[in-house]
């Protein structure tokens, strides 16, 4: 009787039209569900949708932390009370068809597949929106939720439809912002699908970033990006190891020596069409590869002594290209 009174009050307040449920309404539905002696499909569906809709509203307003507990509850309802529950779907279809002129001909399995696809699609769509905003950390849980609701194959299928990667990429300039593109592909590769094309792009982006950091005389990040490139290319793996042995101080010394070198300056002025950043990278590459062949190893003292010799080799190669 207590529940009946509370329901009556809620019904009277909401009337027949309002669809906005308050937090107290959710609590009332949850309490009814907890204390119900048998499964009521209307109550179960109402609760799941109420949580799901609240989660969606919060997520779309950018409050992902607040949305998470509602997503968890909605998906818990889906997993444990709705998905693959023949009794639920049987009763839902029967009550849905009651009084309808055109009867729903879908079987319970097909209906729950389509509903699941829609739920997974929502998560994938939010994931795509966050990718567009380059919020990769916030995007990952949505992908995981989509996989949990509909399975990873379905999530991938929906991802292709829901997310326009070309539009995202067109907004990112690879020359100005290679890090953003790298992060995007890293996310796609680690989270969505391990495609070969993603590997190639990441290798290219890691290389570009490495060259940029080297020219900024930032050896730590230079080595970090070479390590990233090494994940997809064995030559870069070897180079990364040798660069670590060279050390940050020696790499900085190579950069300083290259910038101050008269031969390099002359060559630069004579061949303005050649990429100077690439030349520096090649010089460091040769130093790294010579680490075992130079007697006594390479240190900040030996760098200037062999610079001219290395420059000649590098420029010959560049001119051949």
């Amino acid at each position: 009787m207590r529940h009946f009174h509370r329901l009556a009050a809620a019904a009277a307040e909401r009337g027949g039209g309002s669809a906005d449920l308050e937090e107290t309404d959710l609590d009332l539905l949850a309490e009814l569900d907890r204390e119900s002696d048998r499964v009521d499909p209307l109550l179960v569906r109402s609760l799941m949708i109420a949580y799901h809709r609240r989660a969606c509203e919060l997520a779309l307003s950018g409050n992902h932390r607040g949305a998470q507990r509602y997503w968890d509850r909605a998906h818990e309802f889906w997993d444990q009370r709705i998905h693959k529950k023949t009794a639920f779907w049987g009763e839902y279809v029967a009550s849905y068809n009651q009084g309808q002129q055109r009867q729903l001909q879908l079987g319970p399995d097909e209906l729950q597949r389509r509903i699941g696809r829609r739920m997974a699609g929502l998560c994938v769509s939010i994931c795509g929106g966050l990718i567009e905003e380059q919020e990769m950390q916030a995007a990952r849980p949505y992908w995981e939720m989509a996989c949990a609701v509909g399975g990873s194959d379905l999530a991938r299928e929906v991802f292709g439809e829901a997310v326009n990667l070309d539009a995202v990429l067109s907004r990112l300039d690879p020359n100005r912002n290679p890090a953003a593109i790298y992060d995007l592909y890293r996310f796609l590769y680690d989270t969505i699908e391990r495609k070969e094309v993603y590997e190639k792009i990441m290798l290219e982006m890691a290389y570009r970033q490495a060259v940029r950091e080297l020219n900024r005389d930032n050896p730590g990040d230079f080595i970090r990006h070479i390590v990233q490139a090494g994940e997809f290319n064995a030559n870069f793996r070897v180079l990364a190891e040798k660069l670590r042995r060279l050390g940050n101080a020696v790499i900085s010394a190579i950069v300083a020596c290259f910038n101050a070198n008269a031969l390099a300056r002359t060559f630069r002025e004579a061949n303005r069409e050649l990429d100077d950043e690439e030349a520096l990278f090649s010089v460091v590459w040769v130093y790294a590869n010579s680490i075992d062949s130079v007697a006594g190893g390479i240190n900040t003292w030996t760098v200037p002594r062999i610079m001219d010799q290395i420059l000649v080799m590098v420029y010959k190669d560049l001119l051949k290209k």
């Binding site: 019904a11 309002s18 209307l42 055109r102």
Partner: protein, 159 residues
Amino acid sequence: MGVMELNGKFNPYRRPTPYDILGLKDGTAATTRDIGRACNDQRKKARTIPDTAERAKRMKELDEAKAQLLRPEDRVLLDFFILGGQVFVELCCRYGQKFPADEKLPVDEVLGPLYPPRRYDDLLPEAPEKLVGELRPLDLEFFDEPRDPARLALTAIDL
């Protein structure tokens, strides 16, 4: 972080819904006839839109909404995610059915606010004084007191 715009196809809570487009307030309960009638009404209104492109867009929107609602397999994907205020009314009914027949239910308290008596205010013209002089006087005889019903019946038999 601002409000995110989603690909509408994958947002089950997208507004306006096809029901909103057709102006069906109690959407999920609408019958095929309600949908057809609402679509016709909206199409009539749409014909008055002066801009051709705007009119064509509205017509297309109406046709798509109607088509979706008339296909049960599409409509159910919409209805499943709609949580109307009716949920409490329906639950109330279900709970009410569980009570023993001899238990007194707070019927007035429950149903009263849901079904308020119609006041017929909507039948009155907004400015009744404007009608003065416009209506022809009725050529009928009025009586202050009604005739006795018993006598009426007798008169009918006499005829």
